[in-house]
Amino acid sequence: MAPILRLEGVTKRFGGLVAVDNVSFEVQPGEVFALIGPNGAGKTTLFNCITGIYKPSLGKVTFQDRDLTGSLPHRTAKAGIARTFQNIRLFEYMSALDNVRLGHHCRMHAKLWDSLFKTPLETREERQVIEHSMELLKLVELDNVADSYARNLAYGQQRRLEIARALATDPKLLLLDEPAAGFTPQEKVELMELVQVILDRGITVFLIEHDMRVVMQASKRIVVLDHGEKIAEGTPAEVRNNQRVIEAYLGKSA
């Protein structure tokens, strides 16, 4: 099967610092793909290169056979890549419902004219978007707090709301940046169930995660980054026994 996402020699430099160094891999459709590595390994930078927040210094990003290298964030979103952020970035003074409604923005058809004069098309579309947003909120079990400001939600709820907002863009590929950070074991189990539901909707999941148990259980394949370089790729079992990975995490044994 053709890969849904392909990275070829992606490199990102900030001045003299090489944050991501010549990284290549492929993500297959329908799988859970994980990116792991110690702090500062360049994982989030790589996510930013994929979603267009950064423009890669070198290399190529291909999504569903389309070259997305250095395309702007709203274009990658429209192409079908959605993401969440490591340090939650919700619209704090918008309601949970409005956060998810905003996620529909790039799939809506109302033009300026429709918005100015509230045409029937606009009214109908808004109604559909509200319905769909409520469905997504139900999916992440937030339908009972739809009217609360995002900033007033509990931490775990905010993480789930971010996922709902990302799903609202109708993605083919969902990038989750440390979705289980700060979660209790119970919340982690629920998150993994949610990931399964997302997979069942035909969305490929690509996640960064620190919790090895979550990663090993959930993902089919793993790429390991260290100091911006790819040091290993394979199934959880392969990666776990890889000497370089063990060194990267635990240091060289004397």
Partner: protein, 401 residues
Amino acid sequence: MSRLRGFIRSNARNPNAIAYALMLVAALFYPAIVQFANGGNGDYLVGLAADGGVYVLMAIGLNVVVGFAGLLDLGYAAFFAIGSYTYAEVASYHLGVTPIGHALHVPFWLALFVGMFIAAVAGALLGAPTLRLRGDYLAIVTLGFGEIVPIVFRNGGIWTGGVPGISALDQPTLPGWIQGPWIGQALAWVPDFRLNSGNLTAYYVLMMVLIALSVVIVHNLYNSRLGRAWMAVREDETAAAASGVNTVSIKLLAFSIGAATSGFAGAFYGAKLSYVSSENFGFTVSVTVLAMVVLGGMGNIPGAMLGGFVLYFILYWLLPNAPQQVESLTTAVGLGSLNAATPGGWPGIATEVANSKFLIFGLILVGIMLLRPQGLLPSQVRKQELTHSAHEAVAAPRQLQ
């Protein structure tokens, strides 16, 4: 009837609905009240409110830029000027004296929209290169633009009439108008009605209708996908972009819509005065409109409107009348000796008050902001932000970042 009652009940606790209702009532009865209170000589006050309406229109437009999208625009008067001058060019004898040699007399209503369109284009042209800038940088660029535009018009030579500007613009016309006993005339339909200083009530009514229309339109925008996108961009540009919002084009749209409103107001203003001059579009205008928005309640349409009317009346009615009022007050309390100038350098109370007009204006502004930092009629979001920042020490107001 039950529907109406349901509507009233569901909005009875919504401060914005109440504000709209009160403003509507006030707008409807204002002419009758001032005429009655002044024994039929209230025309001046009716005209004043209509002139204030021009500023209210601008406040509604600037509220889209500053309040909704969070873009600090310090050169808003530039678009007001562009709208006015556009009207002056296309609806007066002026082009006849330029090398073109042929005057244009575009009909009033069409010319208004020409002014609006040209201002919107100017907004897009200024916005396209500058809206990549954030916060303070954008403010400086717009400040520069606001300074440049009047200077260009002043130095435009024969094309813009130079320092004296352009006069004898075509006056507003309406296809028809109903006259009646409320302005002391017999009930009659007047076709091809010309607005001028002799029928200020008609001018007032027209202004209020235009304001009402623009409120409906801006309200629609606010509740549409565009309004949501503006809010999202204001809160977190990166997250908005990652959620599929084209941040540059959405900001550009806010900027252009603001410019269009200002241009429309400018065209109307020029038509009413029948005269434009670059003197009328300085930095003071930009700052006054910004103060109206901030003072009224940034991000809230009725707030911006209220701020507009309040500041306009302070500036153009309260302060000009203050010296005279103070003089009669001192006389009434037996301090009439203060009224006369003395050789010792005391200029007399009236002159003193007139001289400190802007000091008083400043004190009023500071006073309102101290008493109601969130504005007279704040948006819910703004209110929340301020209470949160008071309790949790959140950094600077997000709107201006």
